[in-house]
Amino acid sequence: MSPKALNSSASVADLRVSLGDLKLKNPIMTASGTFGYGQEFVPYMNIHRLGAVVVKGISLFPRSGNPPPRIVETPCGMLNAIGLENVGVERFISEKIPALQAINVPVVVNILGDTVQEYSEITKRLADVEGIAAIEVNISCPNVKKGGVAFGSVPKMAEAVTKAVKENISVPVFVKLSPNVTDITEIGRAVEDGGADAVSLINTLIGMAIDHRTRRPVLANVFGGLSGPAIKPVAIRMVNLVAQAVSIPVIGIGGIETTEDVIEFLLAGATAVQLGTANFVNPRASEEAVEGLTQYVIDEKLLSVRELIGGLVLS
């Protein structure tokens, strides 16, 4: 696609989508934990062309994360056990928010906690901060009060966390679902009941790698989260299921690399998408997806990209 063709016609392509009250100029976002605090990508791309940026998960207090090794490549994917290393909500507000505001793109803040209480407190702390477009609640973390069972695997717990966040902030709240459950639609409905404005899915599948030479787990944390193209078929199916089960928008995540992948997730029912691991392989992946999707909307003479959402044809 020639950049010239693109520029001359960009104005005619309607790529806008809405996630609750959040209006995005296009449905392409970056996934939490794969795009740093945005800044890291400034040398490689025009961040402001993205629909939104989701920052690394923020906890109430700073966390140094898991010991190394934290990552390992797997067939068409990678496992990570970063352990939620982050600067904590205070330093996030004082150091990261100002820089993020400068890059002129909606910022979604991904948050996590060990107790419902912690989720409430982070949210309260973020409530008055300027420059936050939405909150994304990561409920894949184990609930320390409930013996480590993940919030994301028990509907009632997922609903409770959602409510705790919703009550304390006025910007739209997205809840990010874990795929490691028997029935993800059940969790989707629970967070909808809790008041979520959208659901994001999927987070990583849990996996493990072993080094046959050392006979040890490769990751110091033993288990890690599987991401990348390998998980795309699982993600598409879950997006498709949840989109049919809830009436709030779905944000599709999992192995997305190209414009074609984006289109597939939209057809499956996603209103917006996030690119994760793809950013590591190609830091321009998300900007290229914006370009590609723009061109697709033009080539296919769509009135709006919204025509694609849930447009899967079943015979």
């Binding site: 990552i71 068409c76 193209p229 190609n282």
Partner: protein, 261 residues
């Protein structure tokens, strides 16, 4: 749009030994801005398997806009790279990371082992260009003469005297680079720049500590992004917590990090 990521052409492939290869890549933007100790992340083909880029130190840059990397074939990624042809295009991201901090006031001592020699050539060249009064001391080690010899030549072309050490004694000292280092007196104001196997760097660091020399090391870790985004490439920091090899390093003051020995 920054041109840091490029579709770059492989202009030369040199097979230095059975499994050590030097590739010259036409990457003007990288060549122009790169500093010694920085690295690039290279994509291993168009397939999603292997998925991630692989990191390689920049071993030389030229005014013609070329960069060189020197690598050993150890797995699938490097096997792919070894199989590339001159004229093929590869995707290179860089220059990345924090390079060596050249100290003009001190006697430089460059100590490299195996593929760790790669970034030291670039460093030696830059030090030469800066025209330090005292010639840098260069100590290079590898397994065998066959492996070390082609790497020495580059340094000798810079008119740098190289102290060699090989595991099998087939070239230079029969043993470790640290043994050689201990026989040399660089004077009290010495800055060592070290890159090589972990055990070697730890040994040099320990000796430097004893001698009160300054010591910079270039570390290797698994990396997914190479640009500070994934937080995968950590090294335990002496001050507690972790530093990130790709963005805080790969070159660190040896005192900054924890040496598990």
């Amino acid at each position: 749009m920054s041109q840091i990521q490029e579709k770059t052409e492989i202009v030369r492939i040199e097979r230095l030994t059975d499994d050590v290869i030097r590739i010259t890549i036409d990457a003007p933007e990288i060549a122009m801005s790169a500093l010694p100790g920085q690295f690039v992340m290279i994509r291993m083909g168009n397939s999603s398997d292997p998925l991630l880029r692989r990191p390689f130190s920049i071993s030389q840059t030229s005014n013609a806009g070329h960069i060189q990397i020197l690598f050993k074939v150890v797995g699938r990624g490097t096997r792919y790279l070894a199989h590339c042809r001159e004229g093929e295009y590869i995707s290179v991201l860089g220059p990345l990371g924090q390079g060596f901090k050249i100290d003009m006031e001190k006697t430089s001592c460059l100590i490299g082992g195996g593929m760790g020699i790669a970034p030291l050539l670039f460093l030696g060249k830059r030090i030469r260009q800066k025209g330090l009064k005292v010639d840098p001391i260069v100590i290079l080690g590898a397994r065998t003469r066959a492996e070390l010899l082609p790497l020495l030549t580059d340094f000798e072309q810079l008119d740098l005297k190289v102290h060699a050490a090989t595991d099998d004694g087939s070239l230079g000292h029969h043993g470790l680079v640290t043994d050689v280092f201990k026989t040399i007196d660089p004077g009290p104001d010495c800055m060592t720049y070290v890159c090589g196997p972990k055990m070697m760097m730890a040994a040099v660091h320990l000796y430097c500590k004893k001698m009160e020399y300054s010591c910079q090391v270039s570390v290797e870790t698994a990396m997914a992004c190479g640009m500070g985004a994934c937080l995968g490439c950590i090294v335990p920091a002496a001050s507690g917590g972790y530093v990130h090899a790709c963005s805080d390093g790969p070159v660190f003051d040896a005192e900054e990090i924890v040496w598990e020995i």
